[in-house]
Amino acid sequence: MLLLSALACTAVLSSLVVLLTRDNFYASMFMSAAMIMVATIYALFDLQPVFVLIVFIFVGALGMVTVALAATYRFAPGRQISWLWALPVVITAFILAFSVYAAQLAPLGKIQFALQGFITPEYLLLIIFLTSLTVLLLLSVLKMGLKYGDKEEEQEGGGS
């Protein structure tokens, strides 16, 4: 429980730094740290496959692209936040924490992870559909990009 509390606190503090820092680069670095802490909590409960997925996909791929983007556009625009927002946030967090505490959640069973049970025709069909959806989504984005590139080239050709 102590380790879980430490990991959760580190994740919350890292995300708080994301809110408070003005530099995009540091914000992305602390966001990656928060994500790694969330993934480590999975590892704490013996859910290593999910840890690997989050660390490889979210921190390894998307997190690094975000860090690269943040390093490219590394400037510090002023925040448009009114600190009055902190009040409803604190009230909401307090109500949520109290309701979770007051709910007296019954202890759940021990986590037993079985990857071999995942390979069933239903799940495979689901994964195939999901992969097809992602490919379609990325293809449409690629098409939009190519169309925009052609239009830009035409404008440059017309201008010169």
């Binding site: 429980m1 994740a11 919350v12 966001m31």
Partner: protein
């Protein structure tokens, strides 16, 4: 998994989600918006942990986790592409430049 562990996970998850929302509404550039979105997805991943012990069939929880991870990854990839396109079109990445929206 003890009830205290579940409480800690849920409270931390809610806290990260609220911080993500605050970052999103306070951001003036789309990079910060992307970062806040990733934080929110982090909070969602965290709230999925008790599912692994609540559902009697652990592969179902793993399926839900995979679906969440891949869907959110696809969404973030599209947002990254949108940021690059916005920079090429508007020559800046401020959120104020996308308030009109639509084809013009």
């Amino acid at each position: 998994m003890q009830a205290t562990d579940i409480s800690i996970i849920y409270v931390a998850s809610f806290a990260i989600l609220l911080i993500g929302y605050l970052t999103a509404i306070s951001s003036k550039d789309v990079i910060r918006l992307l970062i806040s979105l990733e934080l929110m997805f982090g909070a969602v991943f965290m709230s999925l942990i008790p599912l692994f012990s609540a559902i009697s069939n652990p592969p179902a929880a793993f399926g839900i986790a995979i679906l969440t991870i891949f869907t959110s990854s696809g969404e973030l990839l599209v947002l990254i592409y949108a940021i690059i396109t916005l920079d090429r079109q508007k020559k800046n990445i401020y959120t104020s430049s996308v308030t009109i929206g639509g084809d013009r």
